[in-house]
């Protein structure tokens, strides 16, 4: 089983890399959406607690 360490390394690397990139993209998406949300809330006219459907 010499040389099988490479396969182990590849598997661990692939897993961590994919999870890290997914996490990064999720964080980016969330941050962008939250910025947009803040901007929209700022535009909201007088009634500040206008429709806010949190859980549907």
């Amino acid at each position: 089983m010499e040389g099988s360490l490479g396969f182990l390394f590849a598997a661990v690397l692939a897993t961590w890399l994919v999870i890290f990139l997914y996490l990064l993209s999720l964080g980016g998406r969330l941050a962008a959406l939250q910025r947009e949300l803040e901007a929209l809330r700022g535009q909201q006219p007088t009634n500040d607690d206008a429709p806010r459907t949190k859980d549907d």
Binding site: L5, F7, Y22, G27, L30, R52, D56
Partner: protein
């Protein structure tokens, strides 16, 4: 993205799992170091099935109660489950190459995982190709239910398909009993990846809820200006 207690716990557990898999667990005698892939492969497979089970439950609840929150959770879980399934297929191949001498074998479990991958790719693409969000949620729920119900049928059919066609490669189940240190490493990894699943789904759910809120605010804004 805030670093909350869940994030800290997940990162700590993942670090512990990495240590357990690569250093703490004893080297398997027959397969050697490559067997350590087991400690990331199995927990991810387990969590992928958990993710699709969550999709199934949320789909049923959505059709019953019609809360968009359930639909958002189903979508989040499907996406995370698909990421895990992808990694399960990749790590499985990387294990199979040195052990079986082939990247892929049309064995029941591998084939079912691959079909599962296709079902949830279709599920997510379907969501993207329906404009109306309520209708998209309804369709997705139906696919989420039928797809999950179909999984055991697919698995069984592939088992029988193979059973009449014996393969030269015998897929030995890991051995009758694992030493306690291996079992402990596996347990740590399962906890770590389950925490990771919960964390990822929560993040994904937050983006989905933020998107819903933006849509509602836009609608309210358009009505106010009209």
């Amino acid at each position: 993205m805030k670093i909350g207690p869940l994030a800290v716990a997940t990162l700590a557990a993942m670090a512990a799992a990495l240590y357990a898999a690569l250093l703490y667990a004893p080297t398997e005698r027959v397969q050697g170091d490559v067997q350590r892939i087991f400690y990331i492969h199995v927990p991810m497979a387990w969590n992928a099935y958990l993710a699709f089970f969550v999709v199934f439950v949320c789909s049923v609840v959505y059709l019953w109660r019609r809360g968009l929150w359930w639909d958002s959770l189903a979508r989040a879980s499907a996406e995370v489950g698909l990421v895990f399934t992808t990694l399960v297929l990749i790590t499985g191949s990387l294990w199979a190459r040195p052990i079986w001498g082939t990247w892929w074998s049309w064995d029941a479990r591998l084939t079912t995982s691959l079909i599962l991958w296709f079902i949830y790719v279709g599920y997510l693409l379907l969501r993207g190709s329906v404009a109306d969000e309520r209708r998209a949620a309804r369709y997705a729920a139906v696919v989420g239910i039928v797809g999950f119900v179909d999984v055991p049928i697919i698995h069984q059919s592939v088992v029988w398909w193979r059973a009449l066609h014996p393969e030269p490669v015998v897929l030995a189940p890991g051995g009758p009993a694992m030493p306690p240190s291996m079992l402990l490493s596996l347990a740590v990894s399962i906890v770590a990846f389950t925490l990771l699943y919960v964390w990822l789904v929560r993040l994904r759910l937050q983006t989905e809820l933020a998107r819903t809120e933006i849509r509602e605010l836009r609608r309210a804004l358009a009505e106010a200006t009209a």
